[in-house]
């Protein structure tokens, strides 16, 4: 890494549902400009970590800062791609409308999207290769297309930091390649991208930074330094053999 300016700083973050801690005392400093995977077994708290950082879930303790300032003041710098399954895709709206929602944050209360916002939404649709589907009712889109629409909605926010919750879940190989290319181009533009990721095989190929999580933070750092059997075993509890391309 050229410089290690910290984009996201998580301090002592603890989250519990009921009585059971889901995240325990997480400290995390994510440098600017990395493409980072969060990996860990089911129930490790990967999605919860993102949601707690974004204030969707209230943590029991801890704080989050973005470029040195509290997250609440930096919301406009942060974009979020939720899990595809978190919404009802039978909602009466079009692909274009969903992408346009990405502009709502900067518009603020009451103001309606105008020509500039609509143009931005069309550009984002084009970037994810979905321009031809802009008027399609969202339930008529395939799973991969729905994922691209969510990605476009985040792109239109024109943020510095992107959080994505399993963007590769249930998409075909073509969409996966399309998405990873967009993520890599975001990194090229100097943006920071944090992705909850399941497929350990592709971590070294896709990402340059990785965080191992299983309720506690196991390790975080450059993929080439810390993506190894030792950390995988610590995270997943069993002797995890993966082919690490070195």
């Amino acid at each position: 890494m050229k410089d290690l300016k910290i984009a996201i700083n998580v301090d002592d973050l603890t989250v519990a549902y009921n009585y059971k801690p889901v995240l325990w005392d997480i400290d995390l400093a994510i440098p600017e400009g990395v493409l980072m995977a969060i990996v860990g077994p089911n129930g490790a708290g990967k999605s919860t970590l993102i949601k707690a950082i974004l204030g969707i879930i209230d943590p029991i303790a801890g704080s989050v800062s973005i470029f040195g300032k509290p997250y609440e003041k930096q919301r406009k710098l942060v974009a979020y791609v939720p899990q595809k399954g978190s919404v009802d895709w039978d909602f009466p709206t079009t692909a274009f409308d969903v992408v346009l929602m990405g502009t709502y944050g900067k518009l603020g209360w009451i103001k309606r999207p105008k020509q500039a916002e609509k143009k931005a939404a069309l550009e984002a649709l084009e970037k994810v290769g979905m321009l031809a589907f802009k008027n399609r009712q969202i339930s008529q889109l395939s799973g991969g297309q729905q994922q691209r629409i969510f990605l476009a909605r985040a792109l239109v926010q024109d943020a510095s930091i992107y959080f994505m919750d399993e963007p590769f879940q249930g998409v075909d190989a073509t969409t996966e390649i399309a998405i990873i290319n967009i993520l890599k181009s975001l990194r090229k533009e100097g943006k920071t991208v944090v992705v909850v990721h399941h497929d350990l095989q592709t971590v070294p190929e896709y990402f340059d930074w990785v965080t191992f999580l299983n309720v506690k933070k196991i390790a975080t750092g450059p993929v080439k330094d810390i993506f190894n059997d030792d950390n995988l075993t610590k995270t997943y509890g069993i002797n995890y053999k993966v082919a690490v391309n070195k």
Binding site: R75, S86, P92
Partner: protein, 374 residues
């Protein structure tokens, strides 16, 4: 009175005009707000709120001793809101699922309300009769001031809806995402819920506690079938609600004064049934027709492909073959053969078929098309 007499009287008879306007406005506001409830998958919330309003009516009567509609409805509003916040609290703070919380609040409040009603009826007070009209509603008791109140509330509701349109829309679709954009989702949520409670309370006099939720859900469910656009859906739901109100009143007035509330609800249900069957994109009828048509098309294409397979092996693709050999193939029927000929893909003569040039090209493209449509 027949229905046509009713519509003649509508513009001359003052009482009838008031009642009809009232049920129309009520249907419209319920349709509008019901769309929100349906899209948020809170269909049962309306049922719980309307039942939760009953004890408020009884308590308001016990405290004031009057049967002034506005005071009783104020009581209904307060206990409806209390019920709503209990439901919210229960789902947020305990492990109970929302359907459990809704069911609990519904039966608890309704039971308490019925207890109070029977208590009131036992009291030696000449003024006590008639509170039970809030159970099933009585549109005939609507007076001008009631309808004016409905119009004012509907106007405010419409204004707020237009003002916060963007915020409502995004919250309905994706609440978590809305929060990350910096919107106060709790405020939007409470605003929507408050208006739903308000609409329900307004409807209690006309439709009653028991059937009120149908007023919210039926127009919205019907409207959803006809459109894939939120604004159109809400507009349609309002129109359907208003129509159900007018027709329900007309039928009940012309048929020996049948109870208006249930008739309105039944008319709304007819709209729902009609929409479920006849909507072009989502309706059962057209879906079935499309299904059969697609099946026939596939049958046709399979036969064509089979013919293509045979024709390909000959130098001249239009070399004739006996129809007999198609019998080995199950997709073939006389009808498909006629259709193929009609499309100009084959020619039939002397119990023999031959592929035309168009037919050959069509068959060749078939495989590619199947891939594209995927």
């Amino acid at each position: 009175m027949t229905i046509s007499e009713y519509f003649e009287l509508l513009f001359t008879d003052y009482t009838l005009g008031t009642i009809t306007l009232g049920t129309a406005v009520l249907g419209a506001i319920c349709g509008m707000l019901g769309s929100f409830a349906v899209l948020r998958k809170q269909s049962l919330l309306g049922d719980a709120i309307s039942h939760a309003a009953l004890p408020g009516i009884a308590i308001a009567f016990l405290i004031t001793g009057t049967k002034d509609t506005n005071i009783l409805l104020l009581g209904a509003l307060v206990s409806g809101l209390i019920g709503t916040f209990w439901i919210r609290g229960m789902t947020h703070k305990t492990h109970l699922k929302s359907d459990t919380a809704l069911g609990l609040v519904l039966s608890l409040f309704f039971g308490f309300g019925m207890l109070l009603l029977t208590f009131i009826q036992k009291q030696p007070n000449a003024n006590q009769a008639g509170l039970d009209k809030y159970l099933f509603g009585q549109a005939a008791t609507l007076v001008k001031s009631d309808v004016e109140l409905m119009i004012i509330v509907t106007g405010i509701c419409l204004f707020v809806l237009l003002l916060f349109w963007k915020e409502f829309k995004i919250l309905l679709f994706d609440a978590d995402y809305t929060k990350t954009l910096g919107f106060n989702t709790k405020f939007i949520d409470i605003l929507i819920t408050f208006f739903i409670v308000l609409a329900i309370v307004l409807g209690l006099q006309t439709v009653g506690v028991v059937l009120m939720s149908a007023m919210l859900l039926a127009p919205a469910a019907a409207a959803r079938q006809w459109t894939n656009k939120l604004s159109v859906m809400i507009f349609l739901a309002a129109i359907i609600g208003a129509f159900a109100g007018v027709f329900g009143t007309a039928i009940s007035a012309s048929q020996n004064n049948l109870s208006t509330g249930p008739v309105i609800v039944l008319v709304a249900a007819v709209f729902v049934a009609f929409s479920f069957v006849f909507s072009p994109s989502r309706g059962l009828l057209f879906r079935q027709i499309r299904f059969l048509k697609n099946r026939r098309d596939l049958e046709l294409k399979k036969t064509l492909q089979f013919m293509y397979g045979i024709a390909k092996t000959h130098e001249n693709i239009s070399h004739p073959h006996a129809i007999r050999i198609l019998n080995n193939f199950h997709g073939f029927t006389r009808k498909t053969l006629q259709k193929l000929e009609h499309n100009g893909w084959i020619e039939v003569s002397n119990q023999q078929w031959s592929l035309t040039n168009e037919g050959f090209i069509e068959a060749e493209n078939l495989y590619n098309q199947l891939l594209e449509n995927d």
